[in-house]
Amino acid sequence: MADATIANPSAPLATPRRLHLAGWRKGVLLLILAAVWEGYARHLDNALLLPTFSATVIALVQGFASGELLARTATSLQLLVTGYACGLAAAAALTAFAALSRWGAELLELLTAMLNPLPAVALLPVALLWFGIGAPSLVFVITHAVLWPVALASYAGFRAMPRTLRMAGRNLGLSPLRFVAEILIPAALPQILAGLRLGWAFAWRTLIAAELVFGVSARSGGIGWFIYTNRAQLETANVFAGLLTIILVGLIVETLLFRSAARATVQRWGQEQ
């Protein structure tokens, strides 16, 4: 009787067939959306306002073939990864302090309540004053965009840890740092992953917005700047190609990075379905 529940402990919960079907439906929906776009753009017949889907795809392919879009994407991603890493390091320090002491917890609650609602782009003027025009200013605002959602989610994860699991961990007489690293963080991993995902989305949006504001003045801009310059030159198909690139990068990171990270950890451990 008990054997049935453990017959194959490593069997995935969701059947591959259902996942496959879900992907298939999304594919059909995407095709329909593309067809609607193509049809409406042809009907409108104004390439300055709305280029057709096919023109956008051609612009996208040409942009990547010439290497320009690829270089722009690389510039943006480099900034993003730098800012993301800074934000994560700050969030880790802050939440570890919050997990270990009441003062740290109060500090984290106060800071997140004050600074989380502040849009990262609103800090851009200050960043320009402090760091001048260039990469450091962008890294600063991205750090701000990542830090608060990640810290907030991780701390919520720490607090949501079941009392029994907490007691079972304390029972081993671990040092505070070991307790955080070996019990608290893995136990809070579902929320931490959700925070990382949210932080990623915030950082990506902030970067593009900041690049659009910087626009003309940055010497070698990223995708935001690519969109800005092409709008100025009325190359609307290129503007849409830039937007598609942003979407594509977001999708790739979401599915390749975050989903496989969740599948390898919290889903495998039954902490998340």
């Binding site: 008990a2 529940t5 453990i6 402990p9 079941p162 029994t164 699991l165 007691m167 079972a168 961990g169 304390r170 029972n171 081993l172 007489g173 671990l174 070991r178 070996e182 019990i183 893995p186 136990a187 991993l189 950890t265 495998r268 451990w269 039954g270 902490q271």
Partner: protein, 278 residues
């Protein structure tokens, strides 16, 4: 046989006369502070010698789990002292391993083997190879060798409790703390686990503090049963379970069960009342 305690209240109940392993002296536990404070346990004194299995038996609200958590160091003591081998207990430590009622006491990100091995490495300071060998041995002893590499969420409730029991026994603590470990299991599994626990205890000579509200469980696993009254938890009586009465279905088992039930349902006995007023 002493089923309803005559020595109740401030008088220490001595289970035996030899040097106690665990000693509770006039222990009082409260929740909250000031006038709103609620007393969970009042003036409990009892001694355990190595090899004793003391069952704290009582209805919900008698503070039996609070008392167990205080012995484990998970909860502060408001008055009185709890001593283990003569020195007051402090923070939680691997010398008092706890098994809880809830199924989420295993680390979900570690396998069955990983859970026990990790506890041995951190709690006993064993190196990986030694911890691995001892963990495998104990998992085998609770009959889970087949699921050594499974993650806890793929196991049934009874299996999870078996892993927690294996983990607690593997660390060879001075004292095992069991907080209604079988309360969330179905009746059949519960009986089976009681029998297995009894045989593990008899093999190892472990000293156990066991909390339950089930009278038959108390008679089955304990060498002694301390009954507590609710709101606040006060000692009602101490019963010694003779080995012969531990067999289910015997007349002695049924008699003890009935006596304990009568003791739990009855009002505070006159002797205790008299002492309180005089």
């Amino acid at each position: 046989m002493n089923t309803t305690g005559n020595a109740i209240g401030a008088v220490t109940l001595r289970i035996t006369d030899t040097e106690p392993l665990l000693s509770l002296e006039n222990v009082t536990l409260r929740y909250g502070q000031g006038p709103a404070a609620v007393t969970a346990v009042e003036d409990v004194s009892v001694d355990l010698t190595a090899g004793d299995r003391l069952v704290l038996l009582g209805p919900s609200g008698c503070g039996k789990s609070s008392l167990l958590r205080a012995v484990g160091g998970f909860q502060p003591v408001d008055a009185g002292t709890i001593r283990l081998r003569g020195s007051p207990v402090g923070k939680p430590g691997p010398n008092r391993m706890a098994v809880f009622q809830e199924f989420d006491q295993l680390l979900p990100w570690r396998t069955v083997l990983g859970n026990v091995r990790y506890a041995l490495q951190r709690g006993r300071g064993l190196d990986r190879a030694a911890a691995d060998a001892r963990a495998r041995d104990w998992i085998g002893r609770v009959g889970l060798a087949r699921v050594m590499d499974a993650h806890p969420h793929t196991l049934s409730g009874g299996m999870k409790q078996r892993v927690a029991i294996a983990r607690a026994f593997a660390l060879e603590p001075d004292l095992l703390l069991m907080d209604e470990p079988f309360a969330a299991l179905d009746a059949l599994t519960r009986r089976q686990m009681q029998d297995e626990l009894l045989s593990l205890c008899e093999q190892t000579g472990a000293t156990v503090l066991f909390v339950t509200h089930a009278i038959d469980e108390a008679v089955r696993v304990g060498t002694h049963v301390l009954t507590l009254s609710p709101h606040p938890g006060r000692m009602k009586g101490l019963a010694t379970i003779p080995p012969a009465a531990r067999q289910r279905g015997t007349a002695a088992f049924a008699q003890l069960e009935a006596a304990l039930q009568a003791g739990l349902l009855g009002e505070d006995n006159p002797a205790a009342e008299g002492r309180r007023h005089g």
